[in-house]
Symmetry: D2
Subunit: 362 residues, 4 copies
Amino acid sequence: MSGSTLGTLFCVTTFGESHGPAIGCVVDGCPPGLELSEADIQPDLDRRRPGTSRHVTQRKEEDKVEILSGVFEGCTTGTPIALLIRNTDQRSKDYANLLDTFRPGHADYTYHHKYGRRDPRGGGRASARLTAPAVGAAAIAKKWLRERCGTTFFGHLAAIGDIAIPFEGWEHVANNPFFAANASDIARIDELRKQGDSCGARVDVVARGVPVGIGEPLYDKLDADIAHAMMGINAVKGVEIGAGFGSIAQRGSAHGDELTPAGFASNNAGGVLGGIATGQDITVSLAIKPTSSIRTPRRSIDRAGQPTMVETFGRHDPCVGIRATPIAEAMLALVVMDHVLRHRAQCVDVRLPVTPIPAQAP
Amino acid sequence: MSGSTLGTLFCVTTFGESHGPAIGCVVDGCPPGLELSEADIQPDLDRRRPGTSRHVTQRKEEDKVEILSGVFEGCTTGTPIALLIRNTDQRSKDYANLLDTFRPGHADYTYHHKYGRRDPRGGGRASARLTAPAVGAAAIAKKWLRERCGTTFFGHLAAIGDIAIPFEGWEHVANNPFFAANASDIARIDELRKQGDSCGARVDVVARGVPVGIGEPLYDKLDADIAHAMMGINAVKGVEIGAGFGSIAQRGSAHGDELTPAGFASNNAGGVLGGIATGQDITVSLAIKPTSSIRTPRRSIDRAGQPTMVETFGRHDPCVGIRATPIAEAMLALVVMDHVLRHRAQCVDVRLPVTPIPAQAP
Amino acid sequence: MSGSTLGTLFCVTTFGESHGPAIGCVVDGCPPGLELSEADIQPDLDRRRPGTSRHVTQRKEEDKVEILSGVFEGCTTGTPIALLIRNTDQRSKDYANLLDTFRPGHADYTYHHKYGRRDPRGGGRASARLTAPAVGAAAIAKKWLRERCGTTFFGHLAAIGDIAIPFEGWEHVANNPFFAANASDIARIDELRKQGDSCGARVDVVARGVPVGIGEPLYDKLDADIAHAMMGINAVKGVEIGAGFGSIAQRGSAHGDELTPAGFASNNAGGVLGGIATGQDITVSLAIKPTSSIRTPRRSIDRAGQPTMVETFGRHDPCVGIRATPIAEAMLALVVMDHVLRHRAQCVDVRLPVTPIPAQAP
Amino acid sequence: MSGSTLGTLFCVTTFGESHGPAIGCVVDGCPPGLELSEADIQPDLDRRRPGTSRHVTQRKEEDKVEILSGVFEGCTTGTPIALLIRNTDQRSKDYANLLDTFRPGHADYTYHHKYGRRDPRGGGRASARLTAPAVGAAAIAKKWLRERCGTTFFGHLAAIGDIAIPFEGWEHVANNPFFAANASDIARIDELRKQGDSCGARVDVVARGVPVGIGEPLYDKLDADIAHAMMGINAVKGVEIGAGFGSIAQRGSAHGDELTPAGFASNNAGGVLGGIATGQDITVSLAIKPTSSIRTPRRSIDRAGQPTMVETFGRHDPCVGIRATPIAEAMLALVVMDHVLRHRAQCVDVRLPVTPIPAQAP
């Protein structure tokens, strides 16, 4: 397969550039019989959308989604569902000067050398705008998983720059523009933003109520596919499952999660053992680099290889990580959905005499 | 595709369990005309093999590889190359008691609930032994990449438990059984080993001389596919590219690598921008959890859901991370090889008037 | 992969139903640097389009294609090319009565039992209208193949019902609405049409100037992939390559094409040996069943399993085979394009001391 | 995917050349819990094997299969099943003279131009011997389908050269070495064989008890995937489903199969409508070309492009079609198995209030 398709059975194929006529995707393999309309998808797109607060880029885009196929009389039919989002705010004159130079930290240099040409308007295909179709596709997956498996997805901003944002409760996440699970650090985050430079972020996401047994041992492990999906999000430089890098300093007697009749006693595994879901929460943490679109002039070269200075103007996020939480939830949902379908293809008739233990210790 | 195949064009399909008749793989898509014999593959298998020192598991396995196909008169023909490794040291009585219980931190519980049954001997398919076929396949990729692209692969153990092992020079790696790039910490590592518990590890790997332009923007980014391959290695819980989790606290003015006519001025990107190789070193870091096979008794349940205690006997690694360096190098090589082939399918006729800048600043 | 994607490297993913908002496709993997605009695609869509003569269905659809992505400043960029065709002529009231019954020879019964529901309007996804996106995608492939490889595609209607239409010359094909390579049988075809029943057809297609060596031995042989693509066209019931079913009665001494320094002496192979192109014309012949949408009342059952009679009204082709020639050419082009990319991924650096013999004997 | 893998979820990856150390395959995606041993596979391999009568090639091969993985305590575990068949009868000196020339009708010329080199011993990878692994893999699929779905597979030789072999009853097939469903034409077939030239054949195969609803509308239609699998068999030049090429001359009122509460009234569709199974018999017919390995000297060229004469010695089938029946059954079984798994991934929870009509009219 060429690279623009994600998933083996719940397949999302995206298209589009930031300032072309439209972006969108085709979702192939969705089970039939799911009630679906644009109203199920639009809220997730709105949640991802920039311009929803002063903290994120000032582009005013409606990201209005249209379902082109695969739905009849309000239900999925099992045929491909195409989602279309027209690009309505294409002020591409802002970017006209970028065709000849390569912005440090951007994909300009690599696209140029791969393809011999590139669409420079708004970052072209490398724009974070291209996460919108995946978020739309994931809204379908999330609805199906919630209704059929009771699986839900959460996420929050866990750090921004050098400020840790401790988890206090999921109820806070919807009450601030940063997806912080915390009411007390908002002012500090705001302060950081005013300093004019960009900064990185950590985002934590969770899948709860994942069916035990989904995943494939080698090589398409559930955690491997999660890592693939997460590292594929713009600006992500690191992915952890469960104890993650913290497991380096752990001893085996501390790391291995004990089992009791009431459930697992801990979750260092992050819900995955041997590439297969335990039924516990799947916990994932992402490192997101500081956005490279900053107003400080920086050294670069032009297409002829000559030295030049690059300064980025236009509308940009001071911290791309602020927008990343719904995207990371979406990618996690797409991977879980795909593996639920894969699992039932092979193992739907496996019947065990004893039910799994509860995912969570009481 | 079912899960046991890695890669899109350089495809490695593995098979086997730790204590079955044999393990191996089929490598499909290798270009023709590469000189190849078992002598090109065996050294990498020997380097991965346990039992090469007192620090790793005491299994005495020869891991002798046989090429079954795809080579004629000492050259690859372009047809599938099958590699076979017979299992010769199958003391599976050691493991007979494990079928009824689930070892904490092991895949026993998840395999049982996925498939309704499992091969418990030596961990079955979840054994780290199953990394051997990938290492064998990667030996082919590494040879081709070295000869045709000048690409090479390095790796070293960067931390074990809470002991950091600073990089001093690649020349040290071959001189100790830990793959440490350092001559001064060996005694401390040895000390740790004697404490009887297991511990985690960090492994760093590098691909040097990677062709600029390989990778796919969405979703099969080069770094996404690397994350997939690395997180799929047994016991890996985290993956970083370039600055990784360190990029969270970086500012944009520090993170974005400036370009000069003499090359990039830094490599926070870890050799990948927008999912495509810059030509710089690809730098990857892995977190490996402590092995779960420890002799301390631990709480678990049996197949009927009743509480029990589990103690692991048999031959096991005190730190599985000690063996991971050649495995991580191998997985990196497989991903790079696949993307070189993918790239030339689409872009082999792209001709740029100016050559890429040097990968490394002087 | 779910089923709506064709190709391994030149990947076409379609979406849409006959009477939904739109149909279209995403073409992923197209090489960069091809000059492309809607004007390169629209003529092939127009050629396929019904309503172009009194001989085919009276639907008046414009099939106006819009390129949504993957093209910048008139050239392909290497990123996915999305094609959108709005459905403008949706007189679906004609079809309202069809939801409860299953038309003989149609996909109504099977869609219903597969998915539990279906979009009955105009045949939904099973409509021949869904060949339009593939024809659009193939226009891109054909342009690239013509410019880079000199490969061209031809086709003609070789029989309709029991009337054979002998090949007289390619110049006739554009001069009649049946794609007949013959000027003398048009009146007889017209006569057949007036008889009120539908009939089957044979269509022959040719790829000329195919690069020697494209194809994969097992299992994705060039001829196997051609058979897959052709049998996937609506109403096709048989596929032949080269001598086809005629080879049953041939002797080996007659069938095997001799080679001379001036070229092959014959082409019973139809341009493929061992799944790999010889460089000769690839010759394919298709059997197309009579359309099942006829006005004669026929026995069927309803969704409750009770007997009923079904009569088809609305706009339908008397012979769907009349429209099939450009579709078959398109499918052949998509397969050849995919295999050219696959071939150069693995074998682009194969250099032979002697050039291939001419494709055609003089 | 590279070309040596067949199937999307029940994936068969083959390897091997006719005279290399071994041939075999990896079967990935088999459901767990199927009782399986070599004794379930060997009979199908023996049935395919040459040397079972004087009518077929005189190679004496045991084709003894070994299961290397994926089976524990006599049951499949859900992990990959590797099958190994050692090549024991490698009289490759017979073929030594073939490296420099291209046999008419063989894959010599195309392999040479694709890969720049080839294994000429016994036809290398292009040998019909490479159908053995697929037959082995299909034995697994057939057992699972028989036990879980009640699906069975039949086939017979329907014509050889210009001799039609009318179907008289399935009970005859096992009683002659040609797989003829007929007791009266054996002498005539024997006569043909003595004429010293090779000839083509027609083989008919049937899948009975196929679950209604399997298949994917676009592009991986059930009939498209069958055509792919069948055209991929060595020497096949044509494939028909149901009425096949006979449908060209049919009228719509004759072709479309009427439905009654007692079942379909006919089966021109061959069990597939819109790419999805109706539940009726799937009926497939193949055209197999005469083998090209004949003793008559024929014109060819050598690797330098100079004219030469080629004469084939060694052990060869007078009619390769005589061995094709079990191979065609196997390929059909692999496709059906794959689509059963694909179908249940997406649609296992579809529940219809009314059960499908009987597959067969009384």
